[in-house]
Structures are given as structure tokens and as C-alpha cells.
Amino acid sequence: MSMKSSIRQVNGITIVDLSGRITLGEGSVLVRDMVRDLVTKGQRKILLNLGDVTYIDSSGIGELVSAFTTVRNQGGDLKLLNLTKKVHDLLQITKLYTVFDVKDDEAAAVAAFK
């Protein structure tokens, strides 16, 4: 299953709903281009909803890190929402769980942006 994304706005926060696989050459490029496009358009508060992401590899993890640093370097913030067990475990193993602000409730996540 290839990756799909849709973008919506809630209280000034850009929420990106992702589904499918974020892997080398497939979803990873899509995530990279989408986040860069959002930042270029001035979006600085981004919430990536990974609830329907079924699989992610090291390239996909790398793209999440890159997206995080891209937004942070522009003075913004990027948070993660609704991790599946697989993605949660991957972030734990790679110690990136300490880097990302991870939420499991959309309203709380939106409210957490300053």
C-alpha cells in the first residue's frame, strides 16, 4: 500500500493525515516534499497524524527527523499524533521518542502548540 496524505487546518495548526507505508523511495519522498512545501508556504505548526501508517523503515524514520529539524530551523514546531505500536516501538528503539513530542489525542495535540 503506497502512502497517502491529506492536509487540514484546526485552530491554526496544520494537521497532516498520513496513511500507508513510509519507506525508501515511496512515502519518504512524499513526506519530505510535503513538509518542505508547507514550510515554504509559511506553515510553522505541523501535526503529523501517523494513525494509519502501517509500516515505516529507517528511511522513513530519517524523513520524520528531517521534517522535524526543517520545521524547527524555521522557528516552528512539529509533533506526532496517534502512533501505531510498530511506529511507537521503532521510536523507542531508536531513542527518538525523547526527541519528538508525541500525542495520542488530537485536541490535546493542537492545544499543545504555543
Binding site: L24, E26, G62, E63, S66, F68, T94
Partner: protein, 148 residues
């Protein structure tokens, strides 16, 4: 080739990476691993295949990747071989240290070692051979039982 060993010689492409991953998933399930371990094994194979195709063979159509699966009865032994210039394992830093946490790449070998019971990397002339072992029984196959 014995009945318990199967080997695939594949093009240096992302399609081959996907095929290696999917085949690993099927063979791991057939070997009796539970769903979580099947995912771990297939993910380790994917990472090894990505390294072979991308970093080893650099998508060179003249170079092939070989993926071999062997069920010894005690373990699933998977070997991924490329025909590239060889990989210096010591040059890959620990991706979990603070100075490397925000690097975009460099997590593949770390994930292989995390998901498998044993990972050996051998330089060939030319190429790199990655051998990954997952024990059929024991703590790695049944982590919940082991923690009881």
C-alpha cells in the same frame, strides 16, 4: 540447495527490496515465528537489502543482490550479499547517541542488530555479505515468556 535453503538473485532496484522484505515475512511465518517477530525479521531484511541496493550496488544494473534464507531448524539464517565496493562497519556511528540522534540516516544496521539475534558483516572482494540469525526458540522468539 537443500529443501530448507532458498536463494534469490535480484536486480539492484527498490522492487527487489520490497520483494526481499515480503519473502522474509512469508518465510519467517512459515518457520513459526509470531507476528511481531515476522515484522522484525522482514524489517531487518529490508534494511539489509536497502544497504545492498542503495549503498552497495548504487542501483547499478550490472550488479546483483543475492538474498538467501535457510531454516536450520534451530534458527532462520538470512544472508544478503551485494557486489559493491564494501562497507566499513566501523564508520557507521551509533545513531542513538545525542550527537547523532537528529541525523537523517545511519539507522539501518542498528535496526538489524536490534531485531535479530546475531548480525555478521563480512567484506568480500568485491561486495559486502550481511548474515542475520534469528533463533527459532529462546528469548528472542518468545520475549514475553522469557520475561516471566
Amino acid at each position: 540447495m537443500t529443501a530448507n535453503r532458498v536463494s534469490y538473485t535480484l536486480e539492484s532496484s527498490l522492487q527487489s527490496v520490497n520483494m526481499a522484505e515480503e519473502t522474509a515475512q512469508l518465510i519467517a511465518a512459515k518457520a513459526g515465528f509470531d507476528e511481531d517477530n515476522c515484522v522484525r525479521i522482514s524489517m531487518a531484511v529490508r534494511e539489509a537489502a536497502v544497504n545492498a541496493v542503495l549503498h552497495g550496488n548504487a542501483y547499478d544494473p550490472r550488479k546483483k543482490m543475492t538474498v538467501a534464507f535457510e531454516n536450520t531448524g534451530r534458527a532462520l539464517v538470512i544472508t544478503v550479499t551485494d557486489e559493491g565496493g564494501g562497507m566499513d562497519v566501523n564508520s557507521v556511528p551509533d545513531p542513538t547517541t545525542p550527537e547523532n540522534l537528529l541525523k537523517q540516516s545511519g539507522r539501518g544496521i542498528f535496526l538489524m542488530r536490534s531485531f535479530m539475534d546475531e548480525v555478521r558483516i563480512r567484506l568480500l572482494a568485491p561486495g559486502t555479505e550481511v548474515t542475520m540469525v534469528k533463533n527459532v526458540s529462546g528469548p528472542a522468539a518468545h520475549p514475553k515468556e522469557a520475561s516471566k
